[in-house]
Symmetry: C2
Subunit: 446 residues, 2 copies
């Protein structure tokens, strides 16, 4: 059995903690059973393991998320990154082609596609196991999960089931309804409709057949190279609504989308995360602070105060769903990123009257990891090492560095950095064009 976790989104709704480089599913804010913190995607992968589902995991994502997925999930998962953002059908098609042509999975292997970040309980995962059984038993060519609605929401698609025989764990689908208006949603609940949970089970060959109608690729690389030929359409429109036989299996337990601060705060283990203090008149208010400066909040109830190097949000919890349109233009580059080699925070940006810009970062490298061997044509960099021990590589050779050492990298000079122990440094970039693209990477085994 193969599970494809769909990981996308830029998550502006959880601004300022989520950004282009760190979508909501990667925020390490939930309590983990070990007493630490875990992200939504780490929670789902942990729950899949605890449910005893014997499946291999593949994350369908984009290139920007590759590093953070490796950081958070390690080598427990495969990663299939789409070459450009299209829609859910092409993304799932690419991952299925990888399973079929890259991983040589047989055409009759059961595949489950699911979101990577639902906040649920163990019954959700046993429902997934039942869906896989339905596919194996031939109940339908496509099996999907129906979520018992908590309210007549207009944010979800609905599935109307047909009555099932007693004891049968699945229902045929009578019809689908996309996001309805409020009145329709109430009628759908009266009819016994369920939310479409975005979880689908099918045999691998079922989907690769559909893909081959658009692109008959011989290898995974070929399909990836012709990715733009796949239609930009959702899996629901392209596959679910065209399927000849669809079954639905119901899940009636807890199911939440922690995609807004209001929803997320309900699941935070403590009212204050990070450096912060709530006064006695701040009942129901949550602080999530990723900055080092302290936050003090008093006299404001039922609010969220969230701070990161990207910005500071102060919002009533009940209005926090609507922040997306306002914050879209507040930040033009991510100020915090998780990379394969570690993390960095932007501390400061300046632009002098002579057009020279500076960008100051605090970088943490994990032991054994390295920043690629590279050069910049428009900037210099000054590294001041603060703790740990590392090795700097130049064209002329290598040099060991530790706390107190300073390395000045000139324009055009090849350089690389490897952490021998956990390594912390302050990097000051200075130049006339400080853009991420000013980088030439050399392939180099180190």
């Amino acid at each position: 059995m193969q599970i494809i976790l769909l990981s996308g989104g830029s998550g502006k709704r959880l601004w300022p903690l989520s950004n282009e480089a760190r979508s909501k599913q990667f925020l390490p804010l939930l309590a983990s059973p070990s007493g630490g913190k875990e992200s939504m995607v780490q929670r789902v992968v942990r729950q899949l393991g605890e449910a005893g589902i014997d499946a291999e995991l593949t994350v369908a994502t984009n290139a920007a998320q590759r590093d953070i997925i490796i950081n958070q999930l390690g080598d427990r998962v495969g990663i299939v990154a789409e070459p450009e953002r299209r829609d859910t059908f092409p993304a799932i098609a690419l991952s299925c082609t990888w399973l079929s042509l890259g991983k040589s999975c047989p055409a009759d292997e059961v595949v489950v596609v699911m979101p990577c970040d639902p906040y649920t309980e163990s019954g959700y995962f046993s429902t997934i196991a039942r869906m896989a059984d339905c596919v194996r038993e031939g109940a339908a060519e496509l099996v999907l999960m129906g979520i018992k609605p908590a309210n007549p929401s207009t944010r979800y698609g609905y599935v109307v089931p047909e009555p099932a025989e007693a004891g049968c764990p699945w229902h045929r689908v009578s019809r689908f309804t996309e996001k309805p208006d409020a009145a329709t949603a109430v009628r759908l609940l009266e009819e016994g409709a369920w939310w479409n949970g975005g979880v689908f089970a099918f045999r691998l060959g079922y989907l690769t057949d559909i893909v081959s109608r658009y692109v008959a690729a011989e290898t995974f690389e070929e399909l990836r190279g012709r990715y733009s030929e796949l239609p930009k359409i959702s899996f629901d429109y392209e596959v679910v609504e065209k399927a000849e036989s669809v079954a639905v299996v119901a899940y009636e337990g807890k199911w939440k989308d922690l995609g807004t601060w209001n929803a997320l705060c309900e699941e935070l283990p403590e009212p204050v995360t990070g450096n912060g203090l709530l006064g006695p008149g701040a009942r129901g208010t949550s602080i999530v602070n990723e900055l080092s400066v302290p936050i003090f909040c008093e006299g404001i109830e039922d609010a969220i105060v969230a701070a990161s190097p990207d910005g500071i949000l102060v919002s009533a919890k009940k209005t926090s769903e609507n922040i997306k349109s306002y914050v879209e233009h507040l930040v033009d580059r991510p100020m915090y990123e998780e990379r394969r080699w570690g993390t960095y925070r932007v501390l400061d940006r300046t632009k002098g009257p002579d057009g020279v810009e500076s960008l100051t970062k605090n970088l943490f490298l994990k032991a054994g990891c390295n920043i690629s061997y590279q050069r910049h044509n428009f900037r210099e960099e000054v590294w001041t090492f603060v703790s740990g021990c590392g090795s700097v590589r130049f064209e002329g050779g290598e040099k060991e560095v530790r706390a107190g050492d300073v390395v000045h990298i000139r324009r055009g000079e090849l350089h690389g950095l490897k952490a021998l122990t956990p390594l912390n440094l302050i990097e000051v970039q200075i130049g006339t064009r400080l853009v991420e693209e000013d980088i030439e990477r050399l392939e180099l085994t180190w």
Copy 2:
């Protein structure tokens, strides 16, 4: 005529913008007539000039405020810094001794002592002129200002005047009452009492006589050296309540203490100062942001959101008077300071597992200004120059620096820095003991 402006306080009530190094009177938040911003003390000095009061100004303050006063008021004022913090009587005694022995003002010169930060209008300054006239005309040995109370506040001392003859611009004082309880305050208002505005006029010799009873100094330096012999007592207790003849002149116009966010926000020219955005559901809310990261506020009404390198405050305006006790322990060092040579912001502090600390600052030096020639015994510093042009002095000589240059100052190495043009640099300090006191300054004319 001489005016002594009393400048003290650490201003925790306007945290996080005010700190040990920048009291509330120096916050550049008020609208100035030129269209820019000015601080409370700059406003008072401007208003004194506009009122046509022909007086020389001396600021009585402490050493920590000397640099910011020079920055904000330039050479228009004298500065007398007390060698240690005592109380208002010793501070005024020190300044009067400076006027008498340092500046050789005659004993019959009229002196007005006043706070440096009341938010008032032009009538306040014409009242000061009338008070000086009263002293000149011999109405009393001490003349003070009575403020018409806006409400029966328990935060101020009260002055109960005797009835005056028709046409007489001053009243004899019947009695003083220190900060009363609420019921007493109501009765005081019924009696026609005024707030004691903390403005006093007298002849210089009147005060130097009192001082000489404690310390009979021959020079200003001698009194300054024996400052600890002056009693730690307020001017009200030591002088006002013991005076044989006291007159009071009334001021009935606008008079506000902008010492809380609630009061200050009413006088801010715009609801957003700095990088911030208010949503449509944030009526009555003010943002004051000295950080570079953006603040977005929505769904919270009548609140103050204030951010600086020292911290972030989110408070209902009505509870903002009470923040002092909570924030006292949130910050252990000022993260923003104005100095004689310019300003700095602390960007980051880290402490490695090996005990090595780092402190990253962004410094702006004004053209022509210099950081003193100094050395550190427990830290190294790395300067990366971002814009402008300066001169670095070492034991071996001088070196010109500009954008892109890097200077690494070792432990124990003498160094100085002068700005030839406005100069911006990133400084990374690294060492085992990063404290302000780790500095040896050499006197050096440069």
